[in-house]
Symmetry: C2
Subunit: 395 residues, 2 copies
Amino acid sequence: MSEYASHDKSGVSVGLVEKKHLTFATEPPGLVLESGASLSPVTIAYETLGRLNPERSNAVLILHALSGDSHVAGYYSTDDAKPGWWDNMVGPGKGIDTDKYFVICSNILGSCMGSTGPSSVNPGTGSPYGLDFPVVTIADMVRAQKALIDHLGIPKLLAVVGGSIGGMQVLEWCISYPEMVAAAIPLATTTRHSALAIAFNEVARQSIMADPNWRNGMYYDGRKPDLGLAVARMIGHITYLSDEAMRLKFGRRLQDRDAFSFNFNVDFQVENYLRYQGTKFVERFDANSFLYITKAADYFDLEERNGCCSAVDAFARTRAKFLVVSFTSDWLYPTYQSRAMVKAMKKNNLDVSFCEIEADWGHDAFLLPSERLTSLIRGFLERVASEAGVKSHAL
Amino acid sequence: MSEYASHDKSGVSVGLVEKKHLTFATEPPGLVLESGASLSPVTIAYETLGRLNPERSNAVLILHALSGDSHVAGYYSTDDAKPGWWDNMVGPGKGIDTDKYFVICSNILGSCMGSTGPSSVNPGTGSPYGLDFPVVTIADMVRAQKALIDHLGIPKLLAVVGGSIGGMQVLEWCISYPEMVAAAIPLATTTRHSALAIAFNEVARQSIMADPNWRNGMYYDGRKPDLGLAVARMIGHITYLSDEAMRLKFGRRLQDRDAFSFNFNVDFQVENYLRYQGTKFVERFDANSFLYITKAADYFDLEERNGCCSAVDAFARTRAKFLVVSFTSDWLYPTYQSRAMVKAMKKNNLDVSFCEIEADWGHDAFLLPSERLTSLIRGFLERVASEAGVKSHAL
């Protein structure tokens, strides 16, 4: 696939896709979680794109970040205004080429996008779980995804790909199921959530829990903690950008007028952007899911898990080939954290490629169209597919 | 004063001080503000330390940041647990030596620490102003301070010193009253509030305004918006530290136990720190004052004020000698912003010294004890005092 052809097809989406659900762990003890609690039944929402080859060797699992869903690319119907969240990367002839690979995108445990989470009905009470939902970890999310991959009859994934919290799941996959992952692409992520990242999440959680409508998580029969969740989302959006990104995107430009308002309405474009992001978010996301997923990210620490005491130990059992990518202006998971990850992988003599992409857009950069990222991922997948002897329709 | 003597006296405070108040603009039109609104009467809380020399030439004006007050050093009574907020810098034999200089610290307009602000009684209604208080700017704060300096009979300040929002006031003093400032020390500050800094302030304001107890600012007769203000303060505390500061101060250390709680209570020390800072803050600070002072900071832009169109133009009329200091890990007002300021000053052939101090503690660094900062400020003040022919008791 030449670069030219890729450009030529850049507007081509995978077309119509369908959201599917797998329900499992329906019998006791259900899915046993890292905390010791268990969950039953467990439903995972997922979507697939492209075709699994007869050898079942061309599957690429894509894992989403905090507020994402299984709708990674394409449209549910011809009326949809927007395609899935990574349509610039996933589709026919794109970086993750659905003409070649069987793409699976799984929603995460704890989310509100079709998978079991705090807004799901607790079979023990007939009401939504709320805070009775057990705290889940990144490893628990991956355990649920493993059930999905088993269900699909795929013995080994060609690649696992994801950014941010999705990248944490990628790393966890390689450590939990080393024999099932041929290659891994962790983007804009970290092996352990830093104090700064925990701090942002904690303040966002406090904002939700300070909203009187939150009512200790049992708000499903009444008003929702929309104001608290909106502020939480605004905090998130600051961390997704960067000083440079904000200067380029907004600077000090005023929103609607040519002078200050001298009141507390919107003056600056950046204020309008944040308020809009906050308001839009509450229409589609559950406040309790925000609490649970941020907590899972905060708990993520490969260096202290499973008796590991260093990142080097953490990667000792992994077998995957890695493409690690960081972005210069990402201050949520800065490049030095990716470098430390790469160093630990190399100490284990793993096959690792690393690239820091020059990007002004902060942590968000991993989701934005980038020829550099597209060509890196395309090239890496082609190499690992070729080395694994994968046959696909278009190869 | 040798460095040794300074060390020797480092524990010496200026002793007991008294909070004073100046009320002015009692007759119409009162203090006319940048917005066009006016305010009457205006009270400014201030404290003084040391003695004014007979020539009235040894006065140093210190200006505080967002939540500060006029209590810069010393104790109100022998029972006080803690001295003023900059006791490590201000006192006998210290960086700003009260044996030599007459130190004035003025609380800012819009604050709740003794000066007129939104919690003050509106003489028109007999109730607290709330949101009827006019939006004030950094220039308005400085205009009020000018009335204080006139009242004290000081024709020219030897130096104006302050960090963060205090640093903005320092710059504003040099531009508004160039003939009244011999030397200026803006620390950890900027000539124009960036989109990132505005974003943090806006989210903090949204958190306050989302609290149902805020009631459009008229909460003084009932419950206060403590939860919203606490979250706002937590956001602030994240910006005062840095990735590096948080790693050194907290890392991923747990607060009270040796394993995760698997609930939404405090797990990490950094969470405990933020909650504590939030809770402590609401005991001493007014939520509306937080709104007004952050708005003043957001409006601050020397490059677009008074018909200026560049930082170079902004400093064209200033006459002060400058010591500009930034801190390596300050990501609220990063060093590149101080460098741009220094460049603009130099283009005007001003006498400028600049130092970037290596510090892990983020924006907070300007308030923490630092021998480097102390010796820079001491040396600069000695030089400008000597060049201005200042006689003081100890000189």
